[in-house]
Amino acid sequence: MDLLIDLVQLSIYGIVLGSILTLGAIGVSMIFGILRFAHFAHGDLMTIGAYVGLSFLVFTGLPIWWALPAGMIGAALTALLVDQAVYKHIRRTQPVILLISSFGMALVLRSLVQLIWGPNVYSYSGGIQRPWWFGEIAIVPNHVWILLAAVLIVAALHLFLTRTRMGKAMRAMSDNMDLALITGIPAERVIMLTWILGGALAAGAGVLLGMDSRLTPTMGWNILLPVFAAAILGGIGRPYGAIAGGMIIGMAMEISTLFLEPSYKPAVAFVIMVAVLIVRPQGIFKGTL
């Protein structure tokens, strides 16, 4: 019985963590799908989003939820800028160059966050929330909102990808950039859009992460590997798989603390991921968008 309660409670925590991972993983997955490289600066885009949201709140005094749109705009613009300033020029080289470049970009973004906001720890709002109790299960109100926000963002993205030709154009681009150009697909516009979406999603993850924990310059970098694990698990390049991947990783990490020394917790994500990769090298979910 106790075990059951533990499992339920930890699963709830896992879903909250999973929502955050999912938003990050969808972005990673999309960028991989179009541009064919693992974007190592994605975590730091999350950080930027979270901090922009924070500054927006501080300057305007608006309620906490405004951090979300503000952060999304901030990170989308950052992503766009980074792409135009750097990635654009090396897009035609091998993906590994882009990967290393994105790693350098991660350093740049992180140090900018430090220069602008300093190394201290911030949070969006002081104080804590008392949980609602359902029998022995506790649910914190924020968690409901976080989950809701994640669902809304994913739904909006889904509509965008299926109701517009841009979604298909994105995949076409990821197949064959040259042919896309020849066909008249405005490749640059599609790429820019990808960065805008990816940046906005990253910021979504960052702001929600900030709401659930706190803001530090390394918050995004620290969560990057689980985000990758989620993307991989869902089958990288498949945004919808990322949702399942995020949830599985999130839950597995929380539930693992029941059985394992918690300092092994981050390893849980990796072990699951590696195991899945070995059994199913294409990720757990087949099928495309």
């Binding site: 995949r171 990821s174 197949d175 040259d178 896309a180 150009l181 020849i182 008249g184 697909i185 495309t288």
Partner: protein, 234 residues
């Protein structure tokens, strides 16, 4: 005014020039064929015209406008469609999605266009949901042509459209090309099935090592002994 004229084109891939003064002309409702040995620069010439390769010197005119080194997107907007020799489909998209992508720049309803293409290549209708990357070599060639036709082009540029097609389809393709030309579309194509191609061509160019070797009407080139021996396989 010619539909397309390219004069004195020099250009290459960064190193030495591949094209060394080649040129050509396509009139509205004319089929023009480029033949020549492998590596002569035929595909390079197509790319240069379509703006995929920097033309170092020389000029490309389309309906009297200078389009030298214009962006591919511009070309498509002006009604030039190009089917490259290799990698000419989006492998992970379905057949129908490949065709849709062909009409990406056209904002109007694409259904009728799709129907038109399916009428030309009925097999594609049967396979509309199949991923293009999993199709046979010949089937892909159809997808690629279909994709190009989606924009209702005024000038259609085909790089070896019949490579890998069955004899029946080769003949059919050349028939289609004639039909397309009859609609008032200029066709510029590179071909290794040179005899059949020249047979339907109004004019032909023989390209070797980046320069024009011969230029004449199709039948004349076919009749030319030297051309036949050196370039058409006797």
């Amino acid at each position: 005014m010619s539909l397309l004229t390219a004069t004195d084109i020099y250009g290459g891939y960064g190193g030495a020039d591949i094209l060394k003064g080649a040129g050509l002309r396509v009139e509205t409702d004319e089929i023009v064929v480029i033949v020549g040995p492998n590596g002569a620069g035929k595909s390079t010439m197509m790319k240069a015209i379509f703006g995929l390769l920097r033309v170092r010197t020389g000029q490309v005119l389309y309906q009297g406008d200078d389009i030298t080194n214009a962006k591919p997107e511009q070309m498509v907007r002006r009604g030039i469609a190009y089917v490259p020799q290799e990698k000419n489909v989006f492998p992970s998209l379905t057949v129908e999605e490949n065709l849709e992508m062909g009409a990406f720049l056209m904002s109007r309803d694409i259904k009728p266009r799709l129907e038109k293409v399916y009428a030309v290549f009925p097999k594609l209708r049967d396979r509309r949901r199949q991923q293009a990357g999993l199709m046979s070599g010949g089937e892909r060639q159809m997808v690629a042509m279909g994709r190009a036709l989606m924009i209702d082009p005024k000038l259609l540029m085909l790089d070896e459209p019949t490579a890998g097609l069955s004899p029946l389809l080769i003949d059919e393709t050349f028939e289609r090309i004639k039909e397309i030309q009859a609609l008032g579309i200029g066709v510029l194509m590179v071909e290794q099935n040179a005899k059949q191609a020249l047979a339907i061509a109004h004019r032909g160019y023989v390209l070797a090592t980046g320069t024009n070797r011969h230029e004449d009407t199709g039948p004349n080139l076919l009749a030319n002994r030297e051309v036949a021996e050196m370039f058409l396989g006797g």
